[in-house]
Structures are given as structure tokens and as C-alpha cells.
Amino acid sequence: MKQIFNFCAIAVFVFTVLCSCAGNPPKDERELAEKAFADAEGGKDCDRENYLAAEELLRQAREEINNKNYDKAKELFNAVKEKSDAIAKYYREHPDECMKKDGKENSEDDGTIKEENVASTDEADTTADPKNPEMDFQVVHFEYNQYAVLEEDLPKIDLMAQWMMNFPERVVRIEGHADERGSNDYNLSLGEKRALEVKNKLIQAGIDGERIKIVSYGEELPVDPASNEEAWFKNRRAEFKREN
């Protein structure tokens, strides 16, 4: 029995090796790696070491493609993907740190005195209360070239759904936006997709779709006109607006 198993294992191994030696460039692996690396761009500054390592691996992988060493290239692409995913994860989990490193680092130890107005604690904050008709609507953010709602932004949509449940006569408009990178026409479509995705989440939460209008502005209305990660992150967004 064990022998048969061994034989099968060897057969599978040989088959796999044969397949990968068949001489085709690892197109899927490459695409996944390139995409993952592009998505890891946000972590370029805060996870620099890993980012540079991923960049080097990608360079090597492309070189192996040119040298027609497709097995080696495939291995390298997989490594790029793994590393890039880790960077992206780090970036998502440490957004504050990553953005701070975007050139704001030095403002910390400059010896100035910080003074803040602290809200008095006995006044309840009603701006985030879904029972308050004047509740502040929160902004939903997106990853580069993505329209899926981020896990951490789902509570914002839940809050919006509660508010819409509480005020059934109200109609809202979701405005979808993209960052400045990419063409105007594709960004209009991306903004539309983002607004639609948020709308669908509200519908799933039980809100009548007739009460939700959507409009895309593409890259036309940035909240921050700068060209850096921090600005781009702020600009990739869906905003809720009151229609009535």
C-alpha cells in the first residue's frame, strides 16, 4: 500500500515537473505577482526593506522570463506575490504609521508645544448617533484600483443603514471617486463601481434601492490635491450626501 502511495506521489511529482517544464511562461503567476506588487505600493515607505526585496525579486523574475527559465521565474513570481501580500497587509494594518512616514516624520521632535481642544465629556456626541437626523456621514475608502469595501469600513455602512432605517423618508446619494492615477474615463467607471458597491451593501442591509442614488465623479473632485499615498488614499472614496 505504502509503495503504491509512493509511486503515486512520484508520478504526481514527475507530472508537475513535466508540466512546469513544458516551456510556457508562467503568465498567471506573473499577473498575480505584478498586481500584488502594485497593490503593495502603499507600503513602499513604511515597510521599505520588504518592498525593496519584493522589487528585486520581481526584477529577477522578469529577467528569468527573458532568459526563458520559466520554472525559476514562476518560483520568483510566487515569492513576489507572497512578499507583496505581506507588505499590503502590513500597510492595511498600520495605516497611521505608513502615512506618517510619507514625509511627515520630522514634525515630531521639534520642541513645539501641542495644544488641543478637548471636548467636554459630559456632552454626549450625537454626530455619530444614527438616531440623530443630522448625523455626520462617514467616508468609505478603497484600495488602489479596487472597488470592494474594506472590512474595517463595513461598520460605517452599517451605521448608514441604521440611520436610513430610522429616517425612512430620506433619500441619499452616494458619490464615488477615484484618485488621480489612471485615465479619466476608467476612473469614472471605477468611481461608479465603488458607489454601486456601497449601494449594494446598503440594499443587503435592508434598505430600499430606490432611496439610494449614485453618481461617479471619477478623479475630478479630490479632497486632497497632493500626489502622494496619503492624498490618494483620501481621494479613493465613496461619500454619502443627503438628497432631501
Binding site: 516551456g23 503568465k27 499577473e31 505584478e34 498586481k35 502594485a38 505600493e41 484600483n145 492615477r181 489612471g182 485615465s183 479619466n184 474615463d185 476608467y186 469614472l188 467607471s189 471605477l190 461608479e192 463601481k193 454601486l196 449614485i214 453618481v215 461617479s216 465623479y217 471619477g218 475630478e220
Partner: protein, 433 residues
């Protein structure tokens, strides 16, 4: 790969190289690839002609030659011979001394009714190869000069160019204000057609050049409008809920391809603007956008996110299942634009340095060549009607300006820079010359 197949490939490569070599020789002989030094002498101003008009005309000739990338226009300061020297008395030695291969000379007579006489000389041969006389109202004299320049270009390069008889529309964004602007091909003669604070996006010419389609959020939804250049009237073309963007004209002058999201996703449709008959062309859960119709009206190129990131595709309009992906390199390729001669597609793509640059796909060979590199953000390529020049927006020098480049990317110049940022240029069809 079999040895046999490799052999065929190798032979093909050698053959291709040989071909290229042969072609280069011809072009060098004609003065095309090797830089051809052209002296454009100031015009001799006679019989009450306006000196400013005369210099405007000779600059226009210089500009046209320069834009093609085939000529080095020599600095007038070095010229030894007076403009007034008669065609028959040209001292070719004096032109050889300033390094000229070719010489353009001319005279202008009259103020309102202008007589323009122009001649092109081969300096080495010491003779005139083209000599023409044009009579017209003053306003048309520049056009005569363009006709002459086109003849010189044809003679020296074998290429028919008519980009000088066309216009470029674009959006100029100044603060919150969007303006729909049209200029001549060289950025001169700026005309503001329409302005609003509610966005003007993606202008595109109708097939006959009489209208410009554009999208605006004027009514808080991105609707498609047309601006009639004769009557200045703006009409709504498409106002479905959601996107009504990226019009691209069919050669029949009534149908357009466009991107709508009324069915819940960005898809491409064709719309008969006379009957309002709508036909859906793409069905895909990812984004399909930015159609550009081929000059014969039988295909479109467009952007789709169906592979996970935006890439350029080509689809047959007679068989919507016939879709092929044109770009494999890079993971962010957009803005496709069919060349009017049907042989090329220009697009903008994000390169390994995360910059947007322009590329051209040669449809026959599938070779992709790069037009811009390390020069800021370069977007929205648009072909001149002769497919020889590409217009685009670039922020390489800070503010976004209107740039022109020849298709090999070897000659790139800014032709318009105004108060605002230049965005989304679109080149008109050729006017009759």
C-alpha cells in the same frame, strides 16, 4: 519549440532586419531618418504687404516642418543671404555654408489680397524642386503656406500629411472652472466654446468634425452632450442614470460607441444618435470602458478590467464574441485610441516606475513601441487625421500642457499652455485644405 520552428522564426527575424535596413536606406536617401537641415528664409515683403503677417507665415512653415520630427529647422540668425535675393539668383554656396540641405524662400505681396510665392530648393543640387504662387484673401495665406509645406514634406519623405489642416479640442481646468477649448493643431487660435463649474469631460469629435461630444455633470449626472460648432448649440445626446461617457464616432457620422452604466456596470454600447436606438456591445461583470471605433467602423478597442486589472482589448462589431487582448505587459493599460489609418492603437500605460506613459501598438506586427519615458504623467493620446502625430497631455514641466509628438517619439513639443491644466485632448478630422 521544434528546431524546425526555430529555424523559421530565425529566418523571419533575419528577413525582417534586412527589410528594415533596406527601408532605412531609402529614408536616409530621402533625407528622412538622418536629420534634414532646412533653412526657411524670411519672406521678402513687397507691395504693401504686412511684415508681421510675413513673419507669421514663415514661422508657420517652420513649425509644421519641426513637428514632423524629420527636419532640423536652422536658426535664421546664421543666414548669409538676404530674403530679397531673387529665386534665380540664389547663392547656394552661402546656404551650404550654413549647413542647409534644403532652402525655402518666398515673397509676399499685398495687404488684403495677398499673393504668396514660395519655392523649395535642393541646396546640393542647386535647383528649385517646387515653386508655387498662391493668391487669396489675407486670412487664407497661412493655409496656402501649409499646403506648400505639405508638398515639401511629401517630396522629401514620401508621406502625405494633413495634420496642419485640423484642430484639437481639450478641457482646460482652471481652479473649479472647466472650459471646452478648441485650438489649431499648433495650439494657436484658442477658442473657448463652453465653460461650467460642473465638469466637462472627454471631448470627442463627430466623424464630420461639425460637433464635439462631451460629458458634463451639469445636471448632477454624467450626461453626454454635443456642441455644434456652426450653431454653438448644446444638445443632450444620452442621459441614462449613471455614466454616459467616452463617445467615439462611427464613420457613418450618426452612430457613436459610448460607455453607460445604466444596467448596473460600466458597459459599452452603440447609439444611433438619429433614432436613439441603443445596442449593448459588452457583457461582463468587470469594468468595460473607453471605446475607440476603428476607422472602418468594424471594430472597437476598449479597456476592460476582466483580467483583474485594466488592459486593452479589441472586439469585432460583426461578431461580439471575437474579443482579443492586445496588451500583455504591465498591469494598468488604458485610454486606447485607434489611428485614423487603422494600423495602430495608442494607449497610456503605467510602467515599472508607476508613471503613466504613452505607447503604440502596431496592429500588424503586435509590436509595442514606447513614445514617452521619464517625463511626468502623459495621458489621453489622440492621433492627427493623417496618423503621423500624437497629441496628448503631459505634466512634465509642472502644469499639464498640450503636447505633440511624432509617432516614433523622437520629437515632442508643447504647443499650448494656458491659465489652467490641459486635459483629455481630442484631434479633429482633417478639414478640406
Amino acid at each position: 519549440m521544434s528546431v524546425h520552428f526555430r529555424l523559421i522564426t530565425l529566418t523571419a527575424v533575419i528577413f525582417a532586419c534586412f527589410n528594415l535596413f533596406a527601408q532605412l536606406q531609402v529614408e536616409v536617401k530621402d533625407g528622412a531618418v538622418a536629420e534634414y537641415n532646412m533653412a526657411v528664409s524670411p519672406l521678402a515683403v513687397l507691395d504693401g504687404a504686412d511684415a508681421a503677417h510675413a513673419s507669421e507665415i514663415s514661422s508657420a512653415i517652420e513649425k509644421v516642418l519641426d513637428i514632423t520630427g524629420y527636419f532640423k529647422v536652422l536658426d535664421k540668425k546664421s543666414f548669409l543671404e538676404k530674403p530679397e535675393t531673387a529665386f534665380k539668383a540664389v547663392n547656394f554656396k552661402a546656404w551650404l555654408d550654413v549647413g542647409a540641405n534644403g532652402l525655402i524662400k518666398g515673397t509676399i505681396k499685398g495687404k488684403d489680397d495677398v499673393e504668396l510665392e514660395l519655392a523649395f530648393f535642393d541646396v546640393a543640387k542647386g535647383k528649385a524642386l517646387i515653386q508655387k504662387k498662391y493668391s487669396s484673401k489675407a486670412a487664407l495665406a497661412k493655409k496656402s503656406a501649409y499646403r506648400f509645406a505639405a508638398e515639401v514634406i511629401k517630396l522629401l519623405t514620401g508621406e502625405e500629411m494633413n495634420f496642419m489642416f485640423s484642430k484639437i479640442a481639450f478641457v482646460e481646468k482652471t481652479g473649479e472652472k472647466y472650459s471646452l477649448v478648441v485650438t489649431n493643431f499648433d495650439g494657436s487660435g484658442r477658442k473657448e466654446l463652453y465653460s461650467t463649474s460642473k465638469t466637462i469631460l472627454l471631448p470627442e469629435w463627430s466623424a464630420d468634425g461639425s460637433k464635439i461630444f462631451f460629458t458634463s455633470h451639469e445636471k448632477n449626472n454624467p450626461n453626454l452632450y454635443s456642441y455644434d460648432l456652426k450653431t454653438s448649440q448644446i444638445k443632450t445626446v444620452s442621459a441614462y442614470d449613471g455614466l454616459n461617457v467616452s463617445a467615439s464616432a462611427y464613420p457613418d457620422n450618426k452612430t457613436i460607441a459610448l460607455c453607460l452604466s445604466k444596467d448596473g456596470n460600466s458597459e459599452i454600447y452603440s447609439l444611433d444618435t438619429m433614432t436613439n436606438e441603443l445596442k449593448r456591445l459588452t457583457v461582463n461583470s468587470e469594468i468595460d470602458a473607453a471605446p475607440s471605433v476603428s476607422p472602418n467602423g468594424q471594430e472597437i478597442v476598449f479597456v476592460s478590467g476582466r483580467s483583474g486589472n485594466p488592459q486593452i482589448y479589441r472586439m469585432s462589431l460583426s461578431d461580439l464574441n471575437k474579443v482579443e487582448r492586445l496588451t500583455e505587459q504591465g498591469n494598468y493599460n488604458q485610454d486606447p485610441e485607434y489611428s485614423p489609418d487603422g494600423t495602430k492603437v495608442a494607449f497610456s500605460g503605467r510602467d515599472e516606475k508607476y508613471q503613466f506613459d504613452l505607447f503604440i501598438i502596431d496592429l500588424a506586427s503586435r509590436q509595442i513601441s514606447r513614445i514617452t519615458q521619464n517625463q511626468g504623467k502623459n495621458e489621453s493620446p489622440t492621433f492627427s487625421p493623417d496618423s503621423k502625430i500624437i497629441g496628448f497631455s503631459s505634466n512634465r514641466s509642472g502644469k499639464s500642457k498640450l503636447f505633440l509628438s511624432n509617432v516614433s517619439g523622437t520629437k515632442q513639443i508643447a504647443v499650448y499652455s494656458g491659465e489652467g491644466e490641459v486635459q483629455m485632448p481630442s484631434w479633429s478630422p482633417a478639414e478640406t485644405n
